[in-house]
């Protein structure tokens, strides 16, 4: 029995990645990381800033995402995100830039607890990449 299912990652500009031989995807869901295997129950969730890990026959890939929504249904996983970066050829400067923006945002006083949590998370993850 095959253990593979298909994955599609889209961002507003284009369809970022499409694969049909993934065996497991680990996504940073809002309430903790979720690993999705074949025949997972249909699920909708949204993501916090973090790393998406994709395991497939051809190896393992990691991507940084800023936010996103995932939908899994009939062995199709769709990930919608506004910003996604490949960790393999990542641009250090870009990471620093995003981090700086997040820190600026964090220093503002009128943000809600949830926003603060997300921003903290984002900075934490970005730190770990560098």
């Amino acid at each position: 029995m095959s253990e593979e299912y298909s994955l599609e990652i889209v961002n507003p500009e284009k369809s970022f990645l499409s694969k049909d031989d993934v065996t497991e995807v680990v996504v940073p869901a809002f309430e903790g990381e979720i690993g999705i295997l074949k025949d997972h129950i249909s699920i909708i969730s949204f993501l916090k800033p973090g790393i998406i890990k994709i395991f497939s026959k051809s190896g393992e890939d990691s991507y940084y995402v800023n936010d996103g929504i995932i939908e899994f249904k009939n062995n199709n996983l769709s990930i919608l995100t506004s910003l996604i970066l490949d960790l393999k050829d990542i641009d250090k400067e870009k990471i620093l830039e995003i981090k700086k923006l997040a820190e600026e945002e964090l220093s503002k006083s009128e943000i809600s607890d949830q926003e603060k949590y997300l921003l903290d998370q984002k900075i934490e993850v970005l730190k770990s990449i560098n």
Binding site: V10, P12, K14, S42, I43, I44, S45, E71, L80
Partner: protein
Amino acid sequence: MASLDDLKKRISSVKSTQKITKAMKMVAAAKLRRAQESAEKGRPYSEKMNNIILNLSNGLSDTENAPKLLSGTGEDKVHLCVVMTSDRGLCGGFNTNIIKKAKIFFQKILDEGKTLKIITVGSKGYDQLKRVYGDNIIEKISFKDSKNVNYFDADKVGKIVIEKFEKKEFDVCTIFYNQFKNVITQIPQEQQIIPLNTSEKAENSSEDNYEFEPEEDEILSNLLPKNISTQIFKAMLENSASEQGSRMSAMDNATRNAGEMVDKLTIEYNRSRQAAITKELIEIISGAESL
């Protein structure tokens, strides 16, 4: 009749105008291809987003407490209209068509005694609307500096709209833009984005039971603001493809008209040159005869 020199000048001036319109047409054609491509590439995102939201809202059991962005404020008094136009001119009826559509809508709202608020995106729309609806325009946004349509610009507009909604500054939000059909046809569209129109059924919506993490309403309240930005982004993409298409056909027409004009002027020029020669000949002959 104009003198030969005048005609010559006019011909060369029309010719150089033709050169400009021809170049503009070429540029528009190249840009159109890119704009069309990105409009096509951007479609899966907004479609998926729409689908998820429809699935979610259909599965929502407690419609009473649904997020306001979905169900609306329950009132219909203040309308916010986001009119999206281009920043540059010389693109045929592109801007005028959107404005025309928007004005009909504005009139309807005002006739019903409701309050109208306008946000213009793109400077051309502001120019055309400020005379009649100047007092209604609460914000004007222009992305003259950004080269390509990008999501972060759309997000900015989306955030402004949502902020105003949360401050209860309006009840219903409608966006106006041109949908790109092909180079010759662009269809002006009005689309209501707040409250969201969920009457259409989700594609392949089985009565699937989704697992939600976290709760449905929490996901929805997180997703809906994103959807606003996505819809605006989609409109911007369609708009930029339409703008280039419209400019391309407008410039094509202009080039052809200039060509016709050059032909006409050339004939006139040749005629008057011949007439001048004939006149001179007659003068010489009649001078010789009188001797």
